[in-house]
């Protein structure tokens, strides 16, 4: 029971995502932060208000953290299937030092 609970906690903290999810997260980081920077500069320049730039930049960064860091479900849409167990595959024999191990 305690072990199961620990497992769940570890999963939540680690927040793993699949390979497609990782690619997506990388892309999201670049696009969102880049866009926040560009928008921050141009809006600030247009309104001649440097504080607005600062706040847009910080808000964009906060939003990026929120979107990328937690393992949202859409990052885990392409789970990698495990290989079937060895016993299910016939004809494969692994020998180590003359002894059969698999």
């Amino acid at each position: 029971m305690a072990e199961q609970l620990l497992e769940q906690v570890r999963d939540a903290v680690e927040g793993q995502m699949d390979f497609e999810g990782q690619r997506l997260a990388e892309m999201m980081t670049t696009v969102m932060l880049g866009a926040a920077g560009i928008v921050a500069f141009f809006v600030g320049f247009m309104t001649q208000d440097i504080k607005l730039s600062l706040y847009i930049g910080l808000a964009g960064t906060a939003l990026t953290f929120l979107a990328v860091v937690p393992p949202w479900p859409f990052y885990n849409k392409n789970p990698e299937g495990w290989l079937p167990p060895h016993s299910a595959i016939s004809g494969i024999q692994i020998e180590v030092d003359g002894k059969q191990v698999g």
């Binding site: 999810g21 932060l33 921050a40 500069f41 320049f45 440097i50 930049g57």
Partner: protein
């Protein structure tokens, strides 16, 4: 990007890159903002008196008390990246011995805040023109309203100063202790533009791109007189400004003056 910690590190790492890049672009953007500052500096009165550098000193030195009038239009120094402008008026005079550089001493200074700067007690408060000139009060009221509308402590718009016959903030002396009968002294206006991000810039004597050189900003040459008879103390007053807090000599606490 497989785990939470790695993602936090990646996002923060790229955030620093973006922040630095935006800051660099902002710093560069000030160079496309046209500047055409102009100023007129005039000598009103100059007197030399003997005094001590401090109460306990046995050595007497000569001090120059320079009254001046100053009209500036530095409004173009204030762009979106300007935090404040430190404005100063210095007396420049040739050395006693040939081959040495000119001496420069600041007689008056002011901190002019930009709109984006938060209030600070040391920000310059422009003296009220109605107090010194009672005529033309209607016109002055109009400019006052203009300044107040912009949320300023000044009756004029940001960067505009009109001081007529102002006392200096500081009396100046020379390292030799001798100042009387010096010739070819002039007053020169200078400033630092302190940006939010980017480089500190000084008053420019030359044109750089869209930044015009300072127009005027220097007084005619004059001479320091010799020490005369008794001076009225009123003539030798220094102007501390209405900013309020200022560290006084001998005091460890800023003294609040006026309100």
């Amino acid at each position: 990007m497989h785990s939470t910690l790695v993602r936090v590190q990646n996002v923060f790492g790229f955030f620093t890159t973006v922040a630095f890049t935006v800051a660099a672009v902002i710093a560069l953007s000030t160079f496309i903002h046209p500047q055409f500052p102009s100023a007129t500096v005039q000598l009103r009165n100059v007197q030399i008196v003997r005094g001590r550098p401090n109460y306990y000193s046995y050595k007497k030195e000569e001090y120059a008390h320079i009254k001046f009038s100053l009209d500036t239009d530095l409004s173009t120094l204030f762009n979106w990246n300007t935090k404040q402008v430190f404005l100063y008026l210095k007396a420049v005079y040739p050395p006693n011995k040939a081959g040495q550089p000119h001496s420069e001493a600041i007689i008056w200074d002011a901190i002019l805040p930009a709109a984006s700067a938060p209030w600070h007690q040391n920000h310059y408060i422009h003296p009220d023109p109605r107090k010194s000139q009672s005529k033309n009060s209607k016109a002055k009221n109009k400019v006052k309203a203009k300044g107040k509308a912009a949320g300023l402590d000044s009756p004029y718009k940001r960067g505009e100063l009109h001081l007529s016959d102002s006392n200096p903030k500081y009396r100046i002396t020379d390292i030799s202790g001798k100042l009387q009968n010096r010739t070819d002294v002039r007053l020169e206006l200078g400033w630092n533009v302190q940006p939010w991000v980017g480089a500190l810039t000084w008053a420019n004597k030359n044109k750089y791109g869209v930044w015009e050189a300072l127009e005027g900003g220097e007084s005619d040459k004059f001479d320091f007189p010799s020490i005369g008879g008794k001076k009225k103390a009123d003539d030798l007053a220094t102007e501390k400004g209405q900013e309020g807090h200022r560290l006084e000599v001998g005091g460890d606490q800023p003294i609040k003056r006026g309100s």
